[in-house]
Structures are given as C-alpha cells and as structure tokens.
C-alpha cells in the first residue's frame, strides 16, 4: 500500500492535477520546486495563515502551484503576478499574498511590475526561483543565465556582448527604499537549507503582520533542461550560481516597520453625496419647453483669456435657468498652441450635437480666433470681439460689436474678468432668454468658496450688462 506523508500546508492529494498519480507533483525528478513548496506550505501552516493566504501561480513551471497549496489560489498571466498581487492586497487588507515566480516571469517579462510593486512596498511575499533558464518552454536563456552558460538560445554559451550579463534581481531590489526584507538563499547544503527556511518564514511573518514587501531569491538548477543529474545540479548551484549570485540577507528592517493598513470602502449614499458636493451644489433639472430658443455659442481666444470658463459660466447660467445645455472644449495640443475655444449649446429640448459648427453667437477674444471662426457665424448671428484687437474685417450679414472688455472689467474692479464681461454682454444681446438671476447664481457656483471673486465678477457682470443695454438702445 502506498504511504502518503502529508506535508502541512500542502493538499494531501492533487485532484486539480487530474490523471492517475494524484499524490505526485508535476515537477521533474531532481527539481527543487517541491522543496520550496514544502517550506512555504509548512510555514503557512505553522503560522496558521492558510485561511488568510492567496498564492499566486505564475506562468512557468510553477504555473500549477495551485494544485498543491492548501490556501486560496489564483493563476495569472506571464510576468503579471506583482500587479495581480497589488490588486489583491490593496482590496483585502488582511490577505497574505504570496507570489511564486521564475526568472523569465519575474526578471524578464515582468521586470517592470516586479520593480514597481517592490518600490511601492506592496504587501507581498515574493519567492523568486532563479534556475538560470526558462524551464517550462524548453530551457531558453533567461536574464539570469550565467555568462558562458549554454542554453538552446545561447548554444555557444551566453555571450555578454550579445546578451548582456546575468541579472542580479536581489541586488536590484536592494536599491529600492520600500522593501522590508531582501534575501538570497539556496538549498545546496543543510546549513543553507536551514537559512532558506528561516528567510521564507521571515518573509511570511512580514505578511502576517502586514508590514510590506519581502523578496526571497531561491537559487535552483533545472536538471531536465540543463541535462544534469541531481548531484551535478547541486554542484552547479553551489559552485557556479552562488559564485555569481552571493547568498545572504541583504536587508531586514522588520523591526523598524509598522503595519500598513488599507482603508475600507464606504458605500453609504450620504458619504458620496457629501463628498461630491451635493450638500452645497445643486442645479434644477431641465424643463422641456418647445418655445425656448436653441442657441449655439462659440467662444475663442488665447489660453489665458478664460474662454473655457466663460463657456462654463454661461453653461451654468443656462442650467440654473432650467435649460438643456452642453459645453464642449477644444482640448490637448490644440490648447497648447496658445488658443482655446469651446462651444455651448442651450435649448428647451435635449441637445443633439454639442459641437458648434454654425454659431448663433461668436465671441472672439483675439485676432487668430476671429480669423478662424468668423466664417462660422450664421447669417443674422452675433459676433462679439474684443475691442483691444483694433480694426477688424468682419463678415457680411452678421451683427458685429466691439466690446471694450478690459476697460469694462477694470471699471468693474477686476481687470482679469474680461470673460465675465463677455458673459454680461451676451446676457443682453445673445438671445438666450435666461432670467438674470441665473447668471448671478452661475457666477456664485463657478467661484464657490471665493467670496471676493464672486463679488468682483458679479460687479463686472452688472457693469457689462449695463453697457450692453446702453448699446442696444
């Protein structure tokens, strides 16, 4: 009768593996993945962490680690374990996240994720199997392949001129500030095995206590791909690998670190309403009104002239007055060129396109804007331009008015509020049919919390409005 010795933390048989031999692992004879599994499993069991643990199986020979670990398990894409671990740990504060990865997975395709998670100090215990080759795919060169080592993709031996030098992950991680614990271990003799066991336990204790990132590199050979027997494999680790990759604990600042605690989600509607400002900022809903005009306004000028916020104030006013309204800006490089524009459409009906290609009203704050958009004003439409431009050529069939924006703004006590001047003028001449109080509410909402700005802009608005009324008489 077959006698099964149960390893703590490891399932007693492996039904996920399928097939007949349900107590044998899928690893090759002589491979030390089994030893590492056992050390991790026992440590998790001894520390009573199995319920809290999620083991991440990588892509590589350990892809089926979930056959074995008696914990929660997840299998992930090649190289992405550190990112997945981040997602788990960030959303489940108490989870003990264990990432188990090979050198292709961790140091090649996943190098970015590896370093960034380490640098953020994620609460993950990383067990990094450095066997100097890609085991699962047939022994190709890995970032950790030794100089001169022959693999199927470095048949003449790794040539540093072609393929660079063996990557020292442990030392690389040691450049970062956040990690709590960093060590390199091997199983090449009993004393080293004991040190390895201790390092593994420390890495898991750090997770138990929620202190952050722990990295343990484990040197192993790959007898199958390196065509070695067990003794040769151990010798390869002890003599060649350890010469290139020195063993030791490079960092242990467990004692100095406090637990990292992630917040719990607050789902309450009151919380959300409050943080989104619904307590203070509420607009009325739009009212269907087929008699209300649909007006399209385009506003354009230099970046600093406030044309985008001119549009927003107008949009707010329309909203306060119960109109359907939309605002659409130019964005990105267009803005970087120094000019900006936006379009506002308001109506008593739901708005179709928010883009303004034919404008009922155009506000041009500088000459390039006037040149660019003057042709887009509808026949009979209104063109307001900044009087500071001086003489301009205007299209035929449109109403044109030069607005002394700076002068009016200055007179109102706020020289920078040229955009508010334009809103004031539009409120009279734009044909929007909005009640006057809506504009004041819009200004108040736009500068919420800044009483001086509200006062100044309201004064400028009134001044501009009066000016426009005088013009229309």
């Amino acid at each position: 009768m077959e006698k099964v010795i149960r390893t703590r933390g490891i399932y007693s048989s492996f039904p996920r593996k399928g097939g007949a031999a349900q107590t044998a692992t899928h690893y090759c004879p002589g491979c030390e993945h089994g030893v590492l599994h056992k050390l991790i499993g026992e440590a998790l069991a001894d520390m009573e962490l199995q319920d809290r643990t999620v083991v991440i199986s990588p892509v590589g020979c350990a892809v089926f680690a979930y056959y074995y670990f008696d914990t929660g398990n997840v299998q992930v894409a090649h190289g992405r374990a550190a990112a997945v671990g981040t997602g788990i740990s960030r959303t489940k504060n108490d989870a003990v996240v264990v990432s188990y990865q090979g050198d292709g997975d961790l140091a090649s395709i996943g190098l970015n994720e590896t370093l960034q998670a380490a640098n953020r100090g994620e609460k993950i215990a990383v067990f990094f199997v450095n066997n100097t080759v890609y085991g699962m795919t047939g022994g190709q060169m890995a970032p950790t392949t030794l100089t001169g080592e022959k693999t199927v993709t470095s048949p003449a031996g790794r040539d540093p001129l072609q393929a660079g030098y063996p990557l020292h992950m442990t030392e690389l991680i040691n450049q970062l500030q956040a990690p709590v614990y960093i060590a390199r271990v091997s199983f090449s003799n009993m004393a080293k095995l004991r040190q390895a066991r201790k390092a593994i336990r420390t890495a898991l204790e750090i997770q138990r206590d929620g202190k952050g990132y722990a990295f343990v590199e484990v040197l192993m050979a790959c007898p199958t791909n390196q065509k070695m027997n067990v003794e040769e494999a151990i010798q390869f680790v002890a003599e060649q690998m350890e010469a290139e990759f020195p063993l030791g604990v490079l960092r242990d600042c467990t004692a100095e670190r406090d637990p990292i605690v992630r917040t719990e989600s607050d789902y309450r509607k009151e919380t959300l309403d409050h943080l989104l400002g619904l307590d203070t900022e509420r607009a009325p809903d739009a009212v269907l009104d087929s008699t209300a005009p649909t007006v399209s306004v385009k506003m354009a000028g230099f970046g600093g002239q406030g044309v985008l916020s001119m549009g927003v104030i107008l949009t707010r006013a329309a909203c306060q007055a119960g109109k359907f309204v939309s605002w659409y800006p130019s964005y990105g490089p267009e803005q970087r060129g120094g000019t900006a524009n936006c379009g506002v459409v308001m109506s008593g009906q739901p708005i179709g396109t928010p883009m303004v290609s034919a404008a009922d009203v155009l506000v041009a704050m500088n000459r390039p804007s006037l040149d660019k958009f003057a042709g887009e004003v509808k026949p009979g439409g209104l063109l307001l331009y900044n009087a500071a431009m001086g003489e301009v050529e205007v299209p035929e069939g449109v109403r044109v008015l030069a607005v002394p924006a700076l002068e009016l703004a200055t007179k109102g006590g706020s020289p920078r509020a040229e955009n508010t001047v334009m809103v004031g003028v539009m409120s009279v001449l734009g044909g929007f049919e909005l009640i006057e109080s809506a504009y004041h509410e819009a200004i108040a909402a736009n500068f919420a919390g800044k009483d001086a700005a509200i006062k100044a802009n309201s004064a400028v608005f009134d001044m501009a409005r009066q000016w426009a009324l005088d013009q229309s008489e």
Partner: protein, 352 residues
C-alpha cells in the same frame, strides 16, 4: 433629485462610486486622464482604493487581482492603452472575472492623435485579446449615460461574470452637461462561491484560466458561448427615435448618434421619413430591434460612425444584408457633420 453640471469623464467616476466600485487602477492617457484624476481625488475620500499603475498592463492585472477577491474593480484608458490591456481582458474572460473597463476612444492606429474617433469598435466589441471570448459593451451618448451606463456596467459584469466595457469617445469624455445623480448607492457583497479573498470561506477556491485537457477547454469554451448567447437574448438595449414609421434608419452610437439625431429632425422637416436607431449595447448588438425595422418595411440603413465602418459590418450581419446598408463616416479625430448625414439621407431617399 440632485443635479450638477459635470464633465463626461467625471460622470464615469460618479457612477463607479455609487455602483460600489472598490478600486480603480489607471495609467494616464488623453483623453481619458480626467477619469484617473477624479478617481485619485474621490476614491480615497470614500475609503476606496486607487493606484496609479506603472502601465496599462499592470493596471488591468491589478484589476484582475482586485476582481479575484470579489471586489468591484475598474480601469479606464484610450486606444493605445486598451491595446495593452487586451492581454489582461482575455485572462479576465478566461477566469470569468467581472470587471469594468472604460475606453475613451481617440484617433488611431498607432499613436494617432487625441481627437475623438470610434475606431476601437472591433477591438472592444469582438474581444480584443486572444481566445473565444466577448465583452459586454455599453455605448453612452451623453454625460448622463457616462454615469448611468458605468453603473450598469458593474451590474452586468457582476451578473454575467464578464468584462463590461463602457465605450465612449473623446467628445463624451470632455463635454459638460447636467447630470442627475444616482438615487441609490450600491453596497456590493463578495460572492464567496468563486472569489479568492484570503478568508476561510474562499480558501478552497481557485481562479484560473487553464484547462490543459483539450476536451475540458472545449467544454469551457462552449459554456462561454452559451453564456454569450444568453447575454444576447437578455441584454440587447437600444434607443429608437422616430423609428415607428421610418423608411430610413440612421444607426449610430455615442456622439455620432447625437449628430445623427439632429439630421433626423432636419430630414423629417423635408418630408423624409428618417429615424434614429441608437444601440446602447454594442455587444450584445440590438439585432432583434433592427430586424424588426426591416420586417416592418424599413427600406434603407445608413450607419454613421467615426470609424472605417466597423459597426457597419455588424449592422450588415445583424440584418443579414436584407436591405441596403450605407456608411457615412469621418476619421482621424473629425466628427461627421449633421450636413453630411442630411445629404446622405436625401440621396438615399431618392432610391426609395
């Protein structure tokens, strides 16, 4: 009722918060960045998790991790980033994990530009990554729907254990409109039947996308196809405007639909019987309603989209080319104009 003026990208985050999304993982890209900015500001205030990832690949895999724990997770990006996320989306599909991805489309291929386009349709609606999978795809056409359909995306992705994508464009992301806020907030619960969240209840579970045995992989694939068929039967959604007596249907989603709607009104004023057929779900495509249009004597279809006819192909498939299907499109960051749609309507009306 609570209404505020809100930017489309902001509305996504408002929807996500009320939908009980626990975590946001993102990487900056115009024109989707404001979603990341808003998440960075608002998520921590509600105790939710937000991480600026090192790349879109990392972001989608963080989503994978958060989804593994049964929590609601999302990411947002634009075309170049969605390409990078495709690997992770395939893995999410293979592991049947729910997650929400928002794509604020910009012009491509390659780096393209940041202007609005709808060229990610095939990538997102057909799956995008490797393998026989689909995503649920929702297509908002207003700031209101940027919020509402983000909430719906969480609901559907949870219900079907699928990735749900909110497919919008640069215009919808950047524009401001009044938003009626959600009237309820969701406090989701972890489904311990499949999640792995570091608790005793979920310790026996495994989240994986591997089936070594060919027959098992086939059976799993067939099971996925059955699920997708059930989604097609249950979740088709469309808004029809003046379609009851329409001879010509304008089929358009997102911002293109808003433009097409203007053309419908103009055409009606000229006596052309046009209607707007606006899919709100792109997968499942609202085939049944479009077939009903053809069955009831609909004569012509004009697709309006900012792509090289990617949705137009699905329209032809949906109605098996039972009536002529035309395309009015613009590319490169340009919008189709109402005038161009109206011209096409006039031309098409002559053929009836």
């Amino acid at each position: 009722m609570a209404t505020q003026l809100v930017k489309g990208n902001t509305a996504v985050i408002i929807g996500a918060l009320y939908a009980g999304c626990d975590s946001f993982f993102g990487y900056p890209i115009t024109p989707a960045s404001e979603i990341l900015h808003e998440a960075a500001q608002k998520f921590p205030q509600a105790g939710r998790c937000m991480v600026q990832a090192e790349s879109e690949e990392a972001a989608i895999n963080m989503v994978f991790g958060a989804a593994t724990t049964g929590r609601r997770a999302m990411t947002a990006s634009s075309g170049p980033g969605i390409s990078l996320k495709s690997e992770g989306i395939s893995y999410l599909a293979g592991a049947q994990l729910p997650a929400v991805v928002v794509d604020i489309m910009r012009a491509g291929p390659g780096l393209g530009n940041i202007g609005p386009e709808q060229g990610d349709y095939n990538q997102v609606v057909k799956g995008g990554g490797h393998g026989n999978y689909r995503n649920i795809v929702l297509a908002p056409a207003s700031v209101q729907e940027m919020c509402d359909l983000t909430m719906r995306a969480f609901e559907l992705s949870q219900k079907w254990r699928m990735v749900a994508v909110v497919l919008a464009d640069g215009v919808l992301g950047q524009m401001i409109e009044p938003l009626r806020f959600p009237e309820q907030s969701v406090a989701p619960e972890t489904d311990t039947s499949w999640a792995v969240d570091g608790t005793a209840a979920t310790r026996p579970n495994v989240v994986t996308s591997i089936f070594l045995d060919f027959d098992q992989q086939e059976a799993f694939n067939n099971q996925l196809q059955e699920k997708y068929a059930a989604v097609e039967a249950a979740e088709q959604d469309v808004e029809c405007i003046r379609m009851e007596d329409a001879d010509i249907a304008l089929v358009a989603y997102g911002i293109s639909a808003r433009i097409a709607q203007g053309a419908v009104e103009a055409a009606r004023a000229e006596g052309i019987r046009a209607g707007l057929f606006r899919p709100k779900t792109l997968f499942p495509f609202p085939k049944d309603a479009l077939n009903a249009f053809v069955d009831q004597g609909g004569k012509q279809v004009i697709c309006v989209e900012m792509s090289n006819g990617q949705m137009c192909d699905d329209v032809k498939l949906a109605i098996e080319c039972r009536c002529p299907v035309h395309l009015v499109n613009r590319l490169g960051g340009n919008l189709v104009t109402e005038g161009a749609v109206l011209t096409a309507l006039r031309e098409t009306a002559k053929q009836i």
